[in-house]
Symmetry: C2
Amino acid sequence: MEERIGFIGLGVMGKSMAHLLLAKFGNLNIYSRTKEKALPLIEEGASWYSSAREVAQNSDVVFTIVGYPKDVREVYDNMMNAPLEGKLFVDMTTTEPSLEIEIGAELSKRGASFIDAPVSGGDKGAREGTLSIMCGGDDEAIERAMKYFLVMGKNIRHLGPVGSGQHTKMANQILIAGTMIGLCESLVYARKAGLDINEVMATISKGAAGCWSLDNYGPRIARGDFAPGFMVKHFVKDMKIAIDESRKMGLNLKGLELVEKLYEEMEKEGEGNLGTHALYNAIDRL
Amino acid sequence: MEERIGFIGLGVMGKSMAHLLLAKFGNLNIYSRTKEKALPLIEEGASWYSSAREVAQNSDVVFTIVGYPKDVREVYDNMMNAPLEGKLFVDMTTTEPSLEIEIGAELSKRGASFIDAPVSGGDKGAREGTLSIMCGGDDEAIERAMKYFLVMGKNIRHLGPVGSGQHTKMANQILIAGTMIGLCESLVYARKAGLDINEVMATISKGAAGCWSLDNYGPRIARGDFAPGFMVKHFVKDMKIAIDESRKMGLNLKGLELVEKLYEEMEKEGEGNLGTHALYNAIDRL
């Protein structure tokens, strides 16, 4: 018997992921804080419910991808009172590893399973079903979720118990924080030194300085295009989580803390909706 | 008529570059602070001189690749008193852009030409003649040097007037500084979170966190191999130059300054001869 699928959170990422699931499996129970965002999916045949709880009640497997940790908590608090025995929940939000562990334990008490499965690959990956999916949970749960993951993503990895998906995503964001400050400082320096940024990029991009950020954001910086690939405010959220977690582990990640502070200042300057590569301008202002 | 070629500085990089030039052009006048380093080249047919000045006197084109800015200054001070009219000097050391501009001006007064041409690609690139060569100088000088550059390198770029090669190399090192702290903090975090570092790398290396440093140093970090690809002490030298230059331009590169400080502390701990990826251990200690 086919499982009934629920999907909660229809933002830029969620709406594309939900669309792919609906197109493949023919049924989808949806809820989003803003109903407007659900209209295209309802037209495609999805069933709208007016709360996360009702989605949980009427589904066997529920995917969530919302915004901040408080949103994750709210959605799961709301669902906890539904009958959950035998159901599987998958949170694809990038959020606190410790929150996921807590949710996993709560669900387990109610006879339900849980996977934390944050993604990378951006809106393009979500549209094309080519996301990287970083999973934490037990083998059985991951096996059960795999046919859905395969619709949404390509590189699907099981990294360990619940929380491991988020920790892996944090490791990813920490590395990006470093490459972004390196990239933006490098190009500000090059421009101030009177060099042609495009020539510099062509010179250094194939060597030891090469990185995805240079290949993808370098040309945008060179032409002054600071529209978001990934928004400053979302990166700040992720880095704050990573900093909290790293401190809990007794780590002192000075690079990450510096980069987070610079991006937080950008947010305060009203630049939260710009792309993360707008750090170039922030460094130029220092 | 063939030009007589001089080569000064036979360290890890210089000895391989000199070897390629000698093999291709059949003559090479050499000098190095430590004569021992010259013995294999002398056996191959190179002519040893006991000072930089004598090499300059007996050569038409002179390549230099030494250590610190003070070494560059010493070598060029020594050569300035030789008859230099019509000669070409190429400094391939990574050093201060402003020092190169000064040397270029001094040589120009004596009717000689100058190119600053630092390289990247490491000892492997030097051995195989596949270095990236970042050139600053006038068109005529670069054209004259090109047949020699083509023996030593692959990606040869003319970035602007004298000093532009060094500035480009600094932009390269600034970006590497960012990727190195991002990489090392990311992997320290991942390990402390209980993840398998190799699994994490396989998960994140193809996405937005992807970089040369991850591909090349990640596996070495995972197996605890901190032998140098590039030594901490050399990276400190480069970053200090970049910081000095950036301050002269009125820039405040906080990321670069933080990374330099961390590496300088490693040097003080006696880790100057380790590879730059040993930053992983330094971060773990913080």
